[in-house]
């Protein structure tokens, strides 16, 4: 069984860029292959993305971000459409390390090549063990928080970054993380939290990010960077430190304390009631608004008629159809939908039956409402639903109609 071009209702994300030269393609009454209907996209502030060469660059307000990531570890960067929620980062001097406090007497040399292609980085040098820089992070609300930092290897074999609670018990190590430069291994030294993948940038730079469990917001919480770990001395290059009231990191925010507004993407679809619909997703969670369930893609304009995919909470993945009389959720709990790891999911609506696949493995199936005249495919949302945004990086967010009894048919549309 195969599918025809007319079955392709929407094709969104980095793969659309590779295939069609633009971030979205929506099939509507034909213009003989000409320009398609424009999506609604808003973001009121500048956003940062990773370019194909690994350099951090800015997208002006109102410009969607294509960020180039190697999430599957094959050494090749792929384009992803980045859609993130509003985030306020909490380090007041994310780039000016001369404004940070010190532990010991480290030297800080400005004017170093940075991951933006400029010279805004610092060389941090420890002549004695445990010398570094510190900056307070003014978190709001207790719980799990996340920090990120850009690092480049200097002479130190191991570098260390820590979130330190200077109040609790006279000083508590909430989470210390080491980076071993020879192997690019990230390891927890003390405390608890999640270590995210050491993400390569251009020019030998890496993004280090980790979450910190059990943060008490009213305490004096400090982000500490040590040039060298393991009781040694040495140097490391540093740039761009961020902290957020969230558990999952976001794209870089700098050069000052700032709020980045949400990316909101909605595509106009044709109206119609179809016997079959399928949503295909390939991408990753890159941030959240703090809730467990993160919507990846959703079709529908109101809560009474919608079809969507969500992931990253409990259950790990879920397909969702809210019809005229009932709501059906098909789930898969065995999937590891960790943030910043690429996943493929397929949700099939087939005339009253809902099926959820992880690639070609059927995870769950259930009967659901038959979509009727009350249903309309008015809007396709990527990374948000119910007015709440979720951080996602979409390589594919594809909606297909009709004839999709065989998920293998999707393969024809994949690069």
């Amino acid at each position: 069984m195969t599918i025809a071009p007319a079955d392709l209702l929407a094709y969104v994300g980095g793969a659309a860029l590779e295939r069609y030269g633009r971030l979205w393609r929506v099939t509507r009454p034909a213009d003989r292959g000409g320009e398609e209907g424009a999506p609604a996209f808003t973001r009121a502030t500048v956003g940062v993305y990773i370019d194909r060469d690994g350099v951090l660059r800015n997208a002006a307000s109102g410009v969607p971000r294509v960020t180039w990531l190697d999430l599957d570890g094959d050494g090749v960067r792929e384009p992803y459409l980045l859609s993130e929620p509003t985030r306020t980062q909490l380090i007041t001097s994310p780039e000016d390390f001369s404004a940070w406090g010190v532990i010991g007497t480290p030297s800080r040399t400005s004017g170093q090549a940075d991951p933006r292609g400029g010279t805004g980085a610092y060389l941090l040098e420890a002549d004695a063990v445990d010398e570094g820089v510190i900056h307070s992070a003014d978190f709001t609300g207790d719980g799990e928080k996340v920090v990120s930092l850009r690092l480049r290897a200097g002479t130190a074999a191991v570098s260390r970054v820590q979130v330190w609670d200077a109040t609790a018990g006279g000083g508590t190590d909430r989470h210390s993380v080491s980076v071993t430069w020879a192997t690019l291994a990230v390891a927890t030294i003390a405390g608890t939290g999640t270590n995210y993948v050491l993400k390569p940038l251009g020019g030998g730079w890496y993004r280090l990010a980790f979450s910190v469990a059990g943060v008490v917001a009213d305490n004096d919480n400090q982000l500490r960077i040590f040039a060298a770990g393991g009781g040694a001395t040495g140097t490391v290059y540093i740039y761009g430190a961020n902290a957020w009231d969230a558990s999952v990191p976001s794209s870089y925010q700098g050069p000052s304390l700032a709020t980045r507004n949400a990316d909101l993407i909605s595509l106009p679809l044709g109206v119609g009631t179809r016997a079959r619909l399928s949503l295909y997703w390939r991408g990753a969670i890159t941030g959240s608004n703090g809730t467990d369930d993160r919507w990846l893609v959703q079709v529908g304009t109101n809560s009474a008629n919608r079809l969507g995919l969500r992931a990253g909470g409990s259950p790990q993945v879920a397909g969702y159809l809210q019809g005229a009389t009932s709501t059906v959720t098909v789930t898969g709990n065995a999937q590891a939908f960790a943030p910043e790891t690429v996943q493929e999911l397929i949700l099939q609506y087939d005339a009253g039956v809902l099926r959820l696949y992880d690639r070609t493995t059927l995870l769950d199936t259930d009967t659901c409402d038959v979509l009727t005249g009350g249903w309309s495919e008015q809007q396709l949302h990527v990374g948000h639903a119910d007015g709440v945004e979720h951080g996602v990086a979409a390589h594919h967010a594809v909606m297909l109609a009709s004839g999709l009894h065989d998920v293998v048919a999707f393969r024809e549309w994949l690069p």
Binding site: L17, Y20, A38, N58
Partner: protein, 278 residues
């Protein structure tokens, strides 16, 4: 010979193809405005040039949305052979940008592939280069200072997503032309001719390898080429020096189902666009 063909018809600098694009240059001489880089005209009198010699110059296309490109061509008539150029792409109007391409154009024609590091110069002096896909809202051709008394001159600039086809069905001609000019035969059977040109023309058969392939072919070939827009045709990626700029020939164009092939196929009739006069 790889045998794989490539077509490139999309042009992000064309306000005909993308009406919301704004084309600007750092400066433009009177009668040589920036928009002339993407009019499709091939006359040596139709070009953009700056006004100040020996200083960097640029021409940019500011789009209405993020678009990707992997193909750049400078049509014959440019004066950049042997000089450096850069292609910049940005999402904040060049406050920050990526240099997608930085090359010194070959000074002479030589056999070559469109993926060669320096691109390839065609037999008539155009320059073509395919590069790794980039995406951005603004694109800019940047020409560093060329030297005393010199400034860039660009007749045609083509930037967009190319489409690599699997193959043209054989047999096909990759170098067939027709003689265009007024011919008179005397009563003795002797031929008299006006000034003539050799114009390349042919009808290629394109077989698609899947149902999905039709979607892109429809966009590039029926959506753009079908409307009469100029298209770079490379019969063979590895012999890109023989590339030709073509437009749709009179007649029908379409991709349908025929006996003997499982997916769509169609005929692609073309004639060379404003062939060079001898």
């Amino acid at each position: 010979m790889s045998g794989k063909p490539l077509i490139a018809v999309e042009n992000l600098f064309s306000v005909t193809q993308f009406p919301n694009v704004v084309v600007l240059a750092n400066e433009a001489a009177s009668g040589n405005e920036a928009f002339r880089v993407a009019t499709g005209r091939r006359s040596a009198l139709n070009f953009w040039t700056s006004t100040t010699t020996n200083q960097p110059a640029w021409v940019k296309a500011a789009g209405d949305q993020v678009r990707a490109a992997d193909f750049l061509a400078l049509d014959r008539g440019h004066n950049l052979a042997g000089f450096a150029i850069e292609l910049h792409v940005s999402n904040d109007d060049f406050t920050t940008y990526e240099t997608a391409l930085a090359v010194t154009l070959p000074a002479a024609t030589a056999p070559g592939a469109v993926d060669d590091a320096l691109g390839v110069r065609t037999e008539e002096g155009a320059w073509l280069k395919r590069f790794a896909l980039r995406a951005g809202k603004q694109w800019r051709l940047y020409v560093p200072a060329m030297g005393t008394g010199l400034k860039p001159q660009v007749v045609g600039l083509y930037l967009g997503c190319s489409l690599a086809l699997e193959y043209f069905d054989r047999p096909f001609q990759d170098d067939q032309d027709e003689l265009v000019g007024a011919t008179v035969e005397s009563d003795a059977g002797w031929l008299g001719r006006s000034r003539s040109i050799q114009r390349r023309a042919h009808e290629l058969e394109v077989k698609l390898p899947s149902f999905a392939a039709y979607d892109q072919v429809r966009y590039h070939l029926q959506g753009h080429f079908g409307k009469g827009r100029p298209m770079w045709l490379l019969h063979d990626l590895d012999q890109a020096d023989r590339a030709v700029l073509v437009v749709r020939a009179p007649g029908t164009l379409g991709f349908g189902f025929t006996p003997g092939w499982g997916w769509r196929r169609g005929k692609l009739g073309y004639v060379e666009h404003e062939a060079q006069a001898a």
